[in-house]
Structure formats: C-alpha cells, structure tokens
C-alpha cells in the first residue's frame, strides 16, 4: 500500500510536465482536427481540389464544404463578410467560417509571418501584392469596389465640404499611410493638388498638416469621428453607411476620388484548401455579390 502510493507519486512530475506541454499545444489541436476532417468529406479530395473553384463559381450547388475556413479580411468588410459567413454556413452545415478583421496591411504582415489563414481579402492591390510577392498566394480576383468618402460628426464640425479639410484647425483623422484607406486618402489629396483641375497646389500639404492621428484601420477612423473626437475622417461609403446615426457623409469630388478595388485569394499555406476555394467562389459568385451589394459595395 505504502509502496504503491510512493510509486504513484513519482509519476506526478512526468504527468505534470506532459500536462503542461499538452496545455500549451491545445490551441493548435482544433486545426489538426479540421485538416483531418477535410479529406473525409463525401467527395474524394482529388476530385474536390482542382474542380471546386470553377465548379462552385458556375454551378448553383457546389460540393459541400467541411471544416474550418479562416478568412483574413479588410476591416471595411466586417459587416458584409459576417453576413456572408452566416449564409455560407447555412449552405455548408459542416463548415465553420472564422474571421480575422484588421487593416489589410496588418493582415498581410501577419500572413507573411506565418499566421494560419486560408483566405485573404484585401482592400487594395498593394497589400495583396505583398502576399503574392512572398509566394503566399498564387493569384487573386477582384471581387468588390468601394468609394472613399469624408465623414464628419452629425453636429459641430467645421467641415462642410471637401475643400474645408484644408481649413486651419480642423481635427482630421486618417488611417495610417500603409493602411489601404489611408493610402487612398493621400492619393485623393494628391489628385486635388494637381495643377490642372486641382483645388490648389498646397491643398494636400494643408490637409495633411491637420492630421491628428494615423489610426490602425478604417473602423478606428470611423469611431474617432463617431465619438466627436475628430472633426472629419476619410473612410469608405460602406463604413459611413453603418454609422448614419452619428456621422454625415461629404462626397469627395469624382475628379479627385479613387475607386478602391478589393482582391481576394485562397492562400497557398491554407490548411483547408478546399474550403478556402469554396469561400472565394461563394464571395465571387451571385450570392456573395448580392450580399456585398446589400452592404453598399460596388461591382468590381
């Protein structure tokens, strides 16, 4: 009795160390399950893999998808993609869509640093190029377009027109220059400073002098305007549409504006390649396009 108790006690350190290692590894185990479950889907993996992209895009009833698909998507896609995710899961009850929404620039960094993503949906071609350039995705498809606009708080903003952005003392908030909407904003300001047809040569300089903060993503810009901390910000029209209670939209003159193009790609490192391709097909297909249109995105 005594001996056996002592024997059992001596196992404790080994068990504890194993438990410690197991706990540390536990986070990764979900992915392994999903990776294993994919080939177990009704269709044979060989048949699913090459055909799914074209088949799903053309036929109304694509091959059922199983397992988790991890979608890294631009912040501006948050509401539309969540809705699309619900519909996708309804159609594919064995599939689970997990999202990571952030600035496309942040997502590109994460993907290139080896984050476990299956799909990347970017708000500009540059950040997609960052990912394809590193060999992490083969090719991308443009699936949506969006229009940058100026947003101001419902009341009390000194900004009433696009040219007011250059007024001294305006508290302007933009996304960082690396974030797509921040990059578009700076390009728009440059367009408005061109000698032919521009507002004035120093327009961009005066507006950029008013920038009080370079926010991490488009939704952070929107929040700062909603709170009234900022007098104005530049976001996409789809972002402004979800905050109509707090913000007013000022259109950017078409002569200066840029239409944001959104590319999407299944990633090479995808653990669930079949599901990744199915998601891309869903978004580029009629249902995905209808959801995007419902949230105010334009056709590419």
């Amino acid at each position: 009795m005594i001996k056996s108790q002592g024997f059992r006690w001596s196992l404790v350190p080994i068990l504890l160390v194993v438990a410690f290692a197991f706990l540390l590894a536990a986070c990764g185990s979900d992915d392994d399950d999903d990776a294993e479950s994919t080939p177990a889907s009704p269709a044979s993996p060989a048949a699913t893999t090459p055909a799914s992209t074209t088949a799903a895009a053309t036929s109304p009833t694509p091959v059922p998808v199983t397992g988790e698909v991890v979608v890294f998507a631009a912040s501006s896609l948050t509401n539309a993609f969540k809705e699309a995710g619900t519909r996708f899961e309804e159609k594919n009850p064995k599939a689970k869509v997990t999202f990571n929404f952030a600035a496309s620039s942040a997502l590109a960094t994460q993907i290139n640093e080896g984050a476990p993503a299956d799909v990347f949906a970017s708000a500009d071609a540059n950040q997609m190029k960052n990912v394809t350039g590193k060999g992490n995705a083969a090719e991308s498809v443009i699936f949506a377009a969006n229009l940058p606009v100026v947003v101001v708080p419902k009341s009390g903003s000194p900004v009433a027109s696009f040219s007011d952005l250059a007024k001294p003392g305006v508290r302007l908030v933009l996304a960082g220059p690396e974030v797509p909407v921040g990059k578009y904003a700076r390009e728009i300001l440059a367009n408005a400073s061109k000698p032919a047809g521009g507002i004035s040569a120093d327009f961009a300089g005066s507006v950029l002098a008013n920038v009080k903060s370079n926010e991490a993503n488009v939704r952070a810009v929107l929040t700062k305007v909603q709170l009234g901390e900022a007098d104005a910000g530049i976001v996409y029209s789809t972002d402004a549409a979800i905050a109509t209670a707090d913000v007013k939209v000022i259109e950017i003159p078409a002569a200066f504006n840029i239409i944001a193009q959104y590319p999407i790609a299944a990633l090479k490192g995808a653990k669930n390649g079949a599901a990744a391709r199915a998601w891309v097909a869903f978004i580029t297909g009629p249902e995905g396009q209808a959801i995007l249109a419902q949230f105010g995105f334009r056709k590419p």
Partner: protein, 270 residues
Amino acid sequence: MTSHLDRAASVTVVALGLAFAVFFVVPFVGLVTRALEEPDTWELLRASQVRQALTLSLWTSTVTVALALLAGTPVAYLLARVSFPGRSIVDALIDLPIVLPPTVAGVALLTAFGRRGIVGEPIEELTGFTFGFRTTAVIMAQLLVAAPFYIRAARSGFESVDVQQERVAYTLGASKVRTFFRITVPQASPALLAGVVLCWARAMGELGATLIFAGNFEGKTQTMPLAIISAFEGSTLGVAGAIALSLILLSTALAVLVCFRLATGRGGRQ
C-alpha cells in the same frame, strides 16, 4: 514513504520550474536572434520615426513618474498613516487601474476628458482646449495606468517604517518635515525606488489607453509601443522595425532592472 514523497515533490518542482523557465526565456531568445538576423536592424534603429518614438516615450514616462511622485507620495503616506473616512474606498480606487485592462482606462479617459466627455466638453466650451491627440493625453493615460504601482509600493514602504524612530526624532526637536525627509524617506527608500521603477516601466509600456485616448501620431502621441504596433501593422518600418524597436525596449528594461538591483543591493547592506 516521506523520503519518496519528498523526492518526487522536489523533482516535480524542479521539472515544472525548468519548463517554465524555458518558456520565459525562449521568446526573448527569439526576439534577439531575429533582430541579429535582420540586416536592417542597425539602420532602423537610427530611423527618425524610431528616434521620435524613443524620445517621446522617455520624456513622457519621466513626466509621469515625476507627477506620480509629487501627487502619489502624499496619498501613499496618508493611506499608510492616517485613518480617515473612506480610506478603504480610496485604497480600492487606487488598485482599480492595476487590475483593469488599460483599454478600459482609455475608454474611461475618453468618456471623461474626450470632446463629448463629462469634463472635456465644458473645458472645451470655456477655454477651447481639447485633450485628445496631444502629448498631454499620452501622459494622462500613462499616469492613470502607472501611478497606482508607485502608490502601492510607497504605501507599503511607509508602513514598514519604524514609527518609534520618528517619535524619537520629534522628541529630539526635529520638525515633521525634517523627520519625514531624514527618517521616513530613507527607511522607505527601497520600496519607493521599487515603486518608481514599476511605475516608469508601466508608463513606458502603455499602449491601450494611449491608442484610444491620445491617438497615434509620430512625434506627438506615438510612443514606442504604438510605433511597434504600427510597424507590425505595416508602417514603413515593417516587421524588422517592430523587432528593432522591441530590442530597444528590451535592453532598456534590462538596464533599468540591473541598475535597480545594484541600487537596492547597496541599500540593503547599509
């Protein structure tokens, strides 16, 4: 039986300790290795964005510590020595920022001192002054999050002082102020120093409250942690920049810890 049990227990403790020690060391080894591998690390350390962020972090955290010393020391002394109504409430309020996520502190500051905040709005109406997007806001965020660490430490420092010695000083005719600076402070100094180091380190590391309340602008509100997160999210510095910045903070923290050990070690021998 006991010897068996004891041996098993010691093996357990050592094994778990080793596993934990490895877990603590590996991330820093990773950081330093990657920093040495990146060809641009040394160049990035001289980039103007890095210099601005470092300068801003150093001076804002120094101001924060100075303010914490100035306003926190009396609070700590009162909490340690004087029994007043509501003392336990003050005590709990001071602990609050320690247990609260800094992002909550940021939201709280915004709702108080933001342009629509309960204090911020009347102040702007009266004076036109706004807190957001200014270095002032960075210091406020740091002070709210970091000062409690100093006050905690200082309070227990004052509590550990031998009150008998203070009484002796009084009977010998020393004034209260003289007694405080010649008897109380020297005796509490290891705890006060520890509080200063903790407060300063916490201020240097402040991210969430600053990001929410002060915004992110180079040279004005972009401190080191904000520069790191911006670099990681794709700013021109890139991941290599984030690693270079992290390396600076890591070495600064190590240097401060070593100095602190040396200082308190000497203090102990006296």
